[in-house]
């Protein structure tokens, strides 16, 4: 022991000799021999200190921030000798999608396969909801309510509006159900499969409280289970009731957070879903425990092949549509999701960024909140300088719904054109003609999850087994 202490002291003395002061080092710690722990990095140290100081877990917005196998790990095999490409600016590459034709009298027919995911009024300002409706309608796609009912702003501005049917049933009423273009029964979301919604008191204003029948200012915790059905057999009966109430007019979606996706999709189809929505763990939230966001669920990339396998085995692939969400950012992501077998994708976080979330011009204000542009995820606090995830009237007024809608429509068009660019390069006259054969993977992990071969090989790890 003595000698150990001696040697430690000796090393310290040695390092002290000629050592710069912290002030001299600036930010260049590594070149001065300081190493950050991979296990206890600065964010981890801060989280421990925060927990010790407050005694409560961290609640935040956004989705999983950890690195995950994702669409970036896939590449398209463009046409050359054995495949015939389409002319980029002349030959047609269609993008439309029909959702819910299996049972509904009035299925949705969207111009583009990129929809807006469910986000509540409450989590978002009324202006933000209106902007989402305007942008989606301009681009010919649908938007979705959230855990807080339907507002006149979003119904009025949304050509195609999907009404979510959630465990809390906040604001659920049959008049709105009849006004909806589709109904989405929500079992879970990718940010928190197995958890209910959460809206902290700062955002429970008079209007939000009134819509949800709650006292103003409570920390609202939504139920995580539906109150009047349990399991797939009950869900069959519940879907039957929703069809009866709306006279079999509207498509019924079932949304699940990605976990046991193969089984969940099979059960959803058996229960009668016209459309299945699978939300991977990169999917966002307005408020959830950080531990939940980062440690529950599977990546979007791993969920898609499971869902498609389930649909194929039931003989309903493309008849029951698959909408995939969770980390969709680019037209490449859209094209890859569709190539793996999705019929459409949904965006949430990316749509908010298009509206103005995390914009560098707000950086000074994000810093006042202890964050910075590009890092801001405190959607739960309701103090969003961009006026999106807030109920503060002054902040919300910063978002012009017309201008926000225009930006979102622009972004949706770019996503679509990018996806078309890739599809044409692969020789496809419709985005839905993309197929897994058009893809290879860059990593063993993504090859195994996406079930496409590692680039330059014919190796799909796990393909010979009965992988689920």
């Amino acid at each position: 022991m003595d000698s150990d202490q001696d040697s430690d002291q000796g090393r310290d003395h040695g390092r002290d000799q000629g050592k710069d002061t912290v002030r001299d080092m600036g930010m260049d710690f590594a070149s001065h021999g300081l190493r950050e722990s991979a296990t206890f990095d600065r964010a981890t140290i801060h989280a421990i200190q925060r927990a010790a100081a407050t005694g409560v877990y961290d609640i935040r917005g956004w989705g999983a921030k950890r690195p995950l196998p994702h669409f970036d790990d896939l590449l398209f095999l463009g046409a050359s000798m054995s495949r015939y490409p389409l002319e980029g600016y002349r030959e047609r590459c269609d993008t439309d999608v029909v959702l819910g034709a299996r049972n509904a009298k009035y299925p949705l027919h969207l111009d583009i396969p990129v929809t807006i995911a469910g986000m509540s009024f409450g989590a978002l300002s009324a202006n933000a909801k209106e902007a989402l409706g305007r942008g989606a309608s301009a681009a010919g796609t649908s938007t979705t309510t959230g855990d807080g009912g339907m507002t006149p702003e979003e119904r009025g501005q949304s050509k195609h509006l999907v009404y979510q049917y959630l465990p809390s049933r906040y604001g659920m009423n049959p008049d709105d159900l009849r006004k909806a273009d589709a109904i989405e029964v929500v079992l879970g979301q990718g940010a928190k499969p197995g958890g209910g919604g959460m809206l902290l008191g700062q955002k429970i204003t008079d209007r939000v409280a009134g819509m949800r029948t709650l006292p103003v200012g409570v920390d609202q915790r939504s139920a995580c289970r539906h109150p009047d059905w349990t399991g797939p057999d009950d869900l069959t009966i519940k879907i039957g009731e929703l069809r009866e109430i709306t006279d079999w007019e509207k498509p019924i979606y079932v949304k699940v957070g990605a976990t046991r996706t193969y089984y969940d999709v099979k059960l959803a189809v058996h229960a009668g879903a016209d459309v299945v929505v699978v939300d991977g763990m990169q999917g966002g939230t307005a408020a959830t425990q950080d531990v939940f966001i980062e440690h529950v669920g599977i990546p979007t990339l791993a969920a898609i092949p499971q869902a498609v396998q389930a649909l194929r085995e039931l003989g309903v692939h493309r008849e029951v549509q698959l909408i995939v969400s969770g980390g969709v950012r680019t037209g490449a992501d859209v094209a890859k999701a569709i190539a793996l077998g999705a019929d459409a994708v949904a965006i949430g976080t990316a749509a908010l960024i298009a509206l103005g979330d995390n914009h560098p011009r707000r950086d000074a204000e994000y810093r006042e909140l202890g964050s910075a542009a590009g890092y801001f995820d405190d959607f739960q606090d309701g103090r969003d300088p961009a006026g999106i995830s807030t109920q503060d009237e002054e902040l919300a007024a910063r978002l012009d719904p017309v201008e926000g809608g225009r930006r979102l429509a622009n972004y949706l068009r770019v996503l679509t054109m990018e996806a078309q660019t890739l599809a044409r390069a692969c020789g496809k006259a419709h985005l839905h003609h993309l197929e897994p054969e058009d893809l290879v993977a860059l990593t063993i992990e993504s090859a195994a999850m996406a079930r496409v071969p590692l680039a330059g090989t014919d190796w799909i790890p796990g393909a010979s087994g009965a992988a689920l």
Partner: protein, 230 residues
């Protein structure tokens, strides 16, 4: 409204639930209906939106009178899961017993269960009045947000767990109270509203025999001291 020219009869032994509900949803449905041979069918008379009277002669399955608006629906038998779920207005009466989640998430109207109700009666209730002649099962009024639940018999375990602002009156014993649910003083205004509810339900119980339960409101905000309750 159609003229009162008699009672429409729908025999579910000879026609479908779809036919019945479509007819009830028509722009001007007949004012009075009798439904024969329900035989435990699901979704009987759900989504009604007009001031019609529907008498169902027998037992029904799940979600009878679901999301009811303005209609008066009477089940002359027992009801399955989620009778009058998410009701907005009107009256639903079950002459027999009701299965679990009776009146779940209902926003308004009056639900009367003359027999017993099973677990989760009034779960997530949002303004409905529920009067039960017999007992209710465990977790009744779970997360109840608004409205009144009256139980003339006994209540099971965890009554009013995680309650918001719904008020609960129980005449018999309460096996246990759920998280944040406490017994509260029965003041004059409560005796008055209870008397009105019992009268509306056509029960002759004495309001003075009941006790009142409600939220202690200790879980309205996240506090580390409440960590064991979360």
């Amino acid at each position: 409204m159609a003229a009162l020219t008699g009672v429409e009869v729908a025999d579910l032994a000879a026609s479908t639930i779809r036919d019945l509900n479509q007819a009830l949803h028509a722009p001007q449905p007949a004012a009075a209906w009798r439904v024969l041979n329900p035989r435990g069918a699901h979704s009987v008379a759900c989504g009604l939106k007009d001031e019609v009277t529907v008498d169902i002669e027998g037992h029904v399955g799940y979600y009878c009178a679901g999301m009811n608006q303005h209609a008066t629906v009477t089940v002359h038998g027992n009801a399955g899961v989620g009778v009058a779920e998410n009701m907005m207005s009107g009256t639903v009466r079950v002459r027999g017993d009701a299965s679990q989640s009776a009146g779940a998430t209902a926003h308004g109207g009056l639900l009367v269960i003359e027999g017993n109700a099973a677990a989760r009666c009034g779960i997530s209730m949002k303004g409905v009045d529920i009067v039960v002649g017999g007992n209710v099962g465990h977790m009744s009024a779970f997360m109840g947000q608004a409205g009144r639940l009256v139980v003339c018999g006994d209540a099971g375990d965890a009554l009013g767990d995680s309650l918001y602002e719904a008020r609960i009156y129980v005449k018999g014993t309460v096996k246990s109270l759920g998280a944040d649910c406490v017994e509260k003083e029965m003041r004059d205004e409560h005796l008055v509203e209870l008397a009105e509810l019992l009268k509306a339900a056509e029960f002759d119980d004495d309001p003075g025999d009941f006790r009142r339960y409600g939220s202690a409101r200790r879980l309205y905000h996240f506090k580390v001291d409440n960590s064991t309750a979360y």
